[in-house]
Amino acid sequence: MHMRKIILIFLLIYQSSIGQIFLKEVEANKLKTNIINSSLNTKNIISDFIQYKHLSFLEKDIISRGKLVYIEPNYIKWDYNYPFNYECIFEKEKLTINNEGNINQIDISSNELFKELNKIIANTLKGDMFDKEKFNIEYYDNRTNYYIRFIVKDTSLIKYFSAFELSFDKNNYGVLEIKILEDENDYTKIVLYNKIINNDIN
C-alpha cells in the first residue's frame, strides 16, 4: 500500500513536470462540447497572427506575420505583411492568391493538400474538426491551455502532414494556436493574438 502511494505521487509529479495531463474520456467529451458550443456562437474572427516555420536544419524558425479574417461558414483570408505582402483567400472550393496585385485563382477541389489544409483550418474555426475516421484524437490539459492532437490515420494525407495540434483558451474555448506537423520534425505553427470575435465586418 505504501509502495502504491509512492508510485502514485511519483506519477503525479512526473505528469505535472512534463506540463500536460492526458484527459480521460469524460473530461475530453466535456472539452469537445465546450469547444463546439463556443464555435457555434462565432460568426466571424479578425486576428493578428505570427507564423513560425520550423525546419529542423535551421538555427531559428522563419517568422511571417499578418492578419486573419474568418467569416462563417467558408471564408478565410490570410493577409501576410511580413516578410512580404501576400494574400491567400480560401472561399468554398476556390483559393485566390494575391501576390502584390498579381492575382491567381486555384480550384482547390483538385488539390488534395490545399483542400485538406483549408478543411482543417475552417473546421478548427467552426469547431467541427473531431473526425474520428481520419484522425486519432488525444486531449490534454497543459495547465495554461487545452491542447488537442489529431494524428493522421488517412494514408492519402500522411504524405502532406503527420498530425496537427490545436491549443484552446481555457476561459472561452477559442483556438489560440494551430500547429501542422510535417515530416522529420518540421512544422508550421500559427499563433493567433489580438483576436476580435463577432465584430461588424462589411
Partner: protein
C-alpha cells in the same frame, strides 16, 4: 519550305539570344595566378540564409521564401516554400549531387529540375577550374571554360565576387548579380535566365 522556316527560327533565336553578353566583348587577357573562385555568400554553417523570392516567368509572378543552409563541409540543404509555409521543394545538394527530399507534383518536371540544379550550382558554389583571366575597365574577369559551357566571374576591386555570366556555345544562358553585400551576405541577388526567360529576385531577411 520547312527547311526555310527552321533556318528563319534559328536566325531569329540567334539574333535574340546569340552573340553572348556584350559586357564580355573586348576583354583583355590578364596574367593572374588565381585558379579558383570562392563564393562566400552561402558558406557559413552558422547562418540561416533566408530570402524572399520573386520569380517572373511569362508575365506570371510567383512569390515565396527560400532557406539555404550549409549543413556540413559538402552539403547544403535548400527548401523553397510558399508564403503560406508549404514546401515546394526540399533538396540536399553538393557540387556534384542533388538529393530530392520532396518536390511538389506540379513542378516535378525534368526541365524544371534541370534548370533549378543549374541555377543553384551557379548561385552557391565557386569554381576550381579557372583557366583564363581578363581585365576590362579595371574589372577582373575569371573564366572557367568547358567543352560547351563558359562561366565568367566578375570580381570588384576588393576581390569580391559580384557577378557571374554563364554562356552555352556562345549563347547567353544566365546572369547572376550579388548586391548590397554586408558581412559576406548578399542582401539582394538577381538571377536572369535567358532561355527559358525567367527573372528571380532574392531579398535577404532576418527574423
Amino acid at each position: 519550305m520547312i527547311l526555310t522556316k527552321r533556318l528563319l527560327i534559328v536566325f531569329i533565336l540567334s539574333l535574340s539570344l546569340g552573340c553572348g553578353f556584350k559586357e564580355l566583348h573586348d576583354l583583355n587577357t590578364y596574367n593572374s595566378p588565381k585558379n579558383k573562385i570562392e563564393n562566400p555568400y552561402f558558406s557559413n554553417k552558422k547562418i540561416d540564409y533566408n530570402y524572399t523570392v520573386k520569380i517572373e516567368k511569362n508575365k506570371k509572378k510567383i512569390n515565396g521564401i527560400i532557406s539555404i543552409k550549409k549543413i556540413d563541409s559538402i552539403y547544403h540543404r535548400i527548401v523553397f516554400m510558399s508564403g503560406f509555409g508549404y514546401k515546394l521543394f526540399d533538396i540536399e545538394v553538393s557540387r556534384n549531387d542533388f538529393k530530392w527530399k520532396s518536390i511538389n507534383a506540379e513542378i516535378d518536371k525534368k526541365y524544371f529540375k534541370k534548370l533549378l540544379m543549374d541555377n543553384i550550382t551557379n548561385l552557391i558554389y565557386g569554381d576550381n577550374n579557372i583557366n583564363f583571366s581578363y581585365k576590362k575597365n579595371n574589372k577582373l574577369f575569371f573564366k572557367s571554360k568547358g567543352e560547351r559551357k563558359e562561366i565568367l566571374y566578375l570580381l570588384d576591386t576588393t576581390n569580391t565576387l559580384i557577378e557571374i555570366y554563364c554562356e552555352n556555345k556562345g549563347f547567353k544562358k544566365r546572369h547572376i548579380s550579388f548586391n548590397k553585400i554586408r558581412n559576406n551576405i548578399a542582401e539582394n541577388i538577381k538571377i536572369q535566365n535567358f532561355y527559358p526567360s525567367m527573372i528571380i529576385n532574392l531579398e535577404f531577411f532576418n527574423n
